[in-house]
Amino acid sequence: MSQVSPRQGDPVITPALVGEHGLTTGEYDRLVAMLGREPTFTELGIVSALWSEHCSYKHSRPVLKNLPTTAPYVLQGPGENAGVISIGDGLAVAFKIESHNHPSAVEPYQGAATGVGGILRDVFTMGARPIAMLNSLRFGSLDDARVRYLFAGVVKGIGDYGNCVGIPTVAGEIVFDRPYGTNPLVNAMCVGLMHESDLIRAKAQGVGNPIMAVGARTGRDGIHGASFASEDLSAASDAKRPRIQVGDPFTEKLLLEASLELIKSGSIVAIQDMGAAGLTSSSAEMAERGDVGVTIDVTKVPTRESGMTPYEILLSESQERMLVVAKKGHEDAVRDILTKWDLTAAVIGEVIAEPVYRVTEGTKIVAEFPGSRLVTDCPAYSPEALESPDVRALRDIDPLTIAELPEEADPAWTLERLLAAPTIASKAWAYRQYDSTVRTNTVVGPGGDAAVLRVRGTNKGIAVKTDCNGRYVYLDPRVGGRIAVAEAARNVACTGARPMAITNCLNFGNPTRPEVFYQFREAVAGMGEACRALGTPVTGGNVSLYNESPAGAVYPTPVIGMVGIIDDISRATCSTFQQDGDAILLIGDPGGELGGSEYLATIHDTVLGRPPSCDLDHERATIDTVLDAIGEGLITSAHDCSDGGLAVAVAECCIANRDAQAGAEIDLSDNAGRSNRELLFGETQARIIVSTPNPERVSQIAARHHAPAERIGVVRAASDKLEIKLPRGALRAPLSRLSAAYHNAIPTIMARTPEHATFDELAPVAAH
């Protein structure tokens, strides 16, 4: 080990300074023991970033170990920039989801934009060209002006970034619920396509190989962004706005093209995004994966301004930068490619044999850690887990004890309100701001169950979707975790694609609170059960904890990003009724579970009861039935039955496509044992509504898979109404009314936002 001495002008290390860096006393002692001395200010900064929850997963690692991560087609599981699965024909799909919740809570536009930028880089550093973006978003009630400001800003941020880079945004979900009021969730997923032979891993190798910083220059933005993302939001959060990065999608586009050229050129051995904790984490992680030492000279890093300290250069989260390990002697080839795209490339260090992580400022050593212990010595915690008694009490309430409102005597009244509930209503207001057709691969775009992209040069397609019902996870984390995976699989299957693998973004509150850690542990266990049962391993993801403010924690929200493969793209199926006279079949049980339903939330403003049960054998049977039927060309439309139950699902099949609406006649009258509201709005799982000209054959297929398949009605293309016969009475509603409720809800609410409202005109986080 060499001599490391404090740098002139750096602050003296005091307990208060250690506290400001988010390290506990125990963690600081651990650091001193590892170094055998007091750290320098630069070293403290490095460790504070790398041992932050965001970078280290210190509270989540032990739990995540139990998730299934392998399958013969998984080429890369968790631990890399993105997961990769083979799809045959020598092709592979790289995909990953990541959160940008905290930045979006205080600066929605840049927070969301840089979230998109970061996940794009994670995918193209694997050697894949991004082909699709998805977004899973959660906001509070749109009745709140600040929530409208956050929603509008996030949507614009996502759109402006992805549109400029030229990657279609094709799917996702948006949910509005009060617990997300001050702490929105912004999860971005990217899917990329590559030749298997181009797969590259972020593993530093080859003693003497140069380490190069490429892309944008390093500035003073986003310093300590990773630490910011690892604490609760509070009154002080607004003051941390400088920790938020600023995105430049044009530079990202240049970096994307340059990076893919670099990977093709054979001049580099590894490449990683300088994302959270910037240069520090990218260099330390690449060294750890390659089991080599590295030395970096911060004076060689191209900066935007002079006078930046080692601390600032190491912890900057300036966007659109990459760290590359080049092959020795290929430095000029790397520079040439970057110059072609008007970007910089500079040798800033090298891979060394000595097992140290060393940072110098010229010749002076400013930070040095033994071997890869910077990464491996990070503590792991398994805090206490205890279910909240309040939640248990809520779950034990029978939803049927909630008295019906007088208006519910007409079920059409209830349906109309549900269709206008922002969580269910059309999200076109948002996705019309996203370019969904660029790159000319989008076969099924936003607005349906999952999106489908063609794979050029093959007959195949890729289906993608994100899903999670946080209300279910809140009421029963184990069941909710299972349902998140099952619903994503079902959505993908509705397009005709076989669910293959998932990425996940686990959004939870403060893990040091026992009830939050209980939610986390149980939800992950439930996800694992469903992944095993449905054959969809986890290939990576992201954990976002501390999603809480003084107002409380968000609903536990483990978002699942599912990828499926469709063998014959011509069979890709959409969700809306297509053909007059087609029989409408319900694959799955008529059901009627109202616990945790959108019905209770919207009509009765309450969240209680047992969430719908999730029998994974039933899920499999339903999925296999639909896939086989689509494979035989029998299905003209398939739609998952989820939020709002059967009535909402059927209504969506009728009205979601504004250009081609179709009526339907449904008969549920022989389910005498259940009330109208259970039949119409219960959210029993494992159900898909299909339309088909050949119901007999579909029923045979269902019987083979032991899935219920009841013929419940018929498509009336020329009819202008939806009619559902019930054990008591009927639901009759003109399509025009249902359509107005569904399509106008969000635009009407958003029209309330003052056009030029600024951050300061709206109440900040603390006042909520």
Partner: protein
């Protein structure tokens, strides 16, 4: 016939135009790098969609000064066919090869949607395989697509048959509801006086496959082929 597709650093529809020409049309296409001064013998030049140089100032304002644009302008001035889709249309206006300008959409939001276009003039080198009054289904995706010009210029464009497509509703009516961005007189596409330069905000290169929902864009490319080859 050889199509040259200009790649500005922020072009992102160059690939789509390339595939439309090579796979759908079966013709030759080359990418033309923005820093070069060589059209590589292209018969037709396409300025594709995207964000040429980031477009943080005004869409296309920097692109007009790029090296390749000198060659594109010379090609256009000598009667060579030039087409600009989306960002390409914006660049053609900035370069003075087409009149008018494209401003921020009236509703101030980016808009990605399928639109219906009514063919206003089927007697041009870009539209001769369409019928006048025919309705086409073609997507748009832009933030700055509101076509504006002075009343005199608009009258001149209409009077000389230089308005090529207009945004229409499902019945072919030119209505305010069918106008996705607030363009003057629902104008979606225009040509220059010589009839050899076309600018349009919609993306015909994205409407070339039944799988993707429309094949209405194919005849635009075929029209060029039939006229230029003839």
């Amino acid at each position: 016939m050889k199509f040259g597709i200009v790649t500005f650093p922020g072009s992102n529809c160059d690939y789509d135009a390339y595939h439309a020409v090579t796979e759908v049309l079966g013709e030759e296409a080359v990418y033309l790098w923005h820093k070069d001064h060589d059209l590589q013998g292209s018969d037709v030049v396409i300025l594709p969609g995207g964000f040429s140089y980031g477009d943080y100032l005004r869409a296309g304002a920097i692109a007009r000064f790029s090296p390749i644009m000198q060659e594109v302008t010379a090609h256009a001035r000598s009667g060579g066919p030039v087409v600009g889709f989306c960002n390409g249309f914006q660049i053609l206006c900035e370069a003075g090869l087409l009149p008018g300008a494209l401003l921020r959409n009236a509703h101030l939001q980016f808009v990605s949607a399928w639109t219906r276009l009514r063919v206003e003039n089927a007697d041009t080198m870009f539209t001769n395989l369409y019928e006048r009054g025919e309705l086409l289904r073609v997507p748009i995706a832009h933030g700055d697509g509101r076509f504006v010009a002075t009343e005199e210029v608009l009258d001149e464009l209409e009077g000389e048959g230089r308005v090529i497509f207009r945004y229409a509703d499902a019945s072919g009516n030119i209505s305010a509801d069918a106008n996705p961005n607030g363009s003057e007189r629902n104008i979606a596409a225009i040509i220059n006086e010589g009839g050899n330069v076309l600018g349009m905000m919609p993306h015909p290169e994205r409407a070339c496959s039944p799988l993707l929902g429309s094949t209405d864009g194919i005849r635009l490319f075929e029209s060029i082929l039939s006229r230029v080859a003839a």
